[in-house]
Symmetry: C2
DNA sequence: CCGTATCCCAGTGGATACTG
DNA sequence: CAGTATCCACTGGGATACGG
């Protein structure tokens, strides 16, 4: 594993980190891992994200080929977002992160005030 | 898995993301997963991090119980950093991230200019 | 050796209003 | 419905110098 880092000037692990960097990206990917969603459906699931930010993160994910954006030229407009093949490979990582986070909470239930309101709507994962 | 999100106002997955948020944190954790390291040894492995940032990220990781900091009151001073039990549970996540990153590179070798110089020293993972 | 102290900048993220 | 357009605040990250 460690050898692959020498291939070029970019560490795969750090690249993966960068691809997921963005306050709402993993949530978006999480929801899209379930099924194709329209803009509004994502928005409803994430009430705390402003339209601007949601659009921005969606475009960034699209640019990185983790999701696709399909526009139906209808009136009113309809836009569907779908996770890609490569994007779907992130799901197990998110699952491990979820598992780790749960274990972490078990250990440090008391001192999580720092991270409270990590999300104001806990239903996001449901 | 999804049910655990209802326990409190904090999604474990997002918490995990927050714990790892910080430009150099996964690299630090990666190096420490190998063995205990002194401040200077970490610094040598990550030439691009300023002392201030390295200290900051180390303190943050310590505050989050992912690493420990042991100070030897000698002259000159000696400080050792060690990954914790819970911190070690992140290693498989980092390994999956590495694996994903490698697969990603295989697919999009061409258009990675955006992420080039993700690290200026590719040896970081070695 | 292992840090602090200042100062600084860019980019991320947000509030609010508007539109094809 | 699915976005843009402005304007703004914050903070993560950095350069440089100094200190116990």
């Amino acid at each position: 594993m460690r050898e692959t880092c020498r291939q070029d000037d970019l560490c795969p692990m750090v690249l993966a980190y960068k691809l997921l960097s963005g306050k709402w990206k993993i949530m978006i990917l999480w929801f899209l891992s379930d099924r194709v969603l329209r803009y509004n459906e994502i928005s409803k699931r994430m009430p705390d994200v402003t339209q601007k930010m949601l659009t921005k993160q969606l475009r960034s994910l699209e640019e990185d080929h983790l999701i696709t954006r399909r526009v139906y030229p209808t009136v009113p407009p309809k836009v569907e977002y779908e996770i890609t093949e490569i994007g779907r490979q992130i799901v197990p990582i998110m699952e491990m992160m979820h598992k780790f986070g749960a274990a972490y909470i078990d250990n440090f239930r008391d001192e999580l005030s720092k991270h409270k309101n990590t999300t104001e709507n806990p239903e996001i994962c449901n």
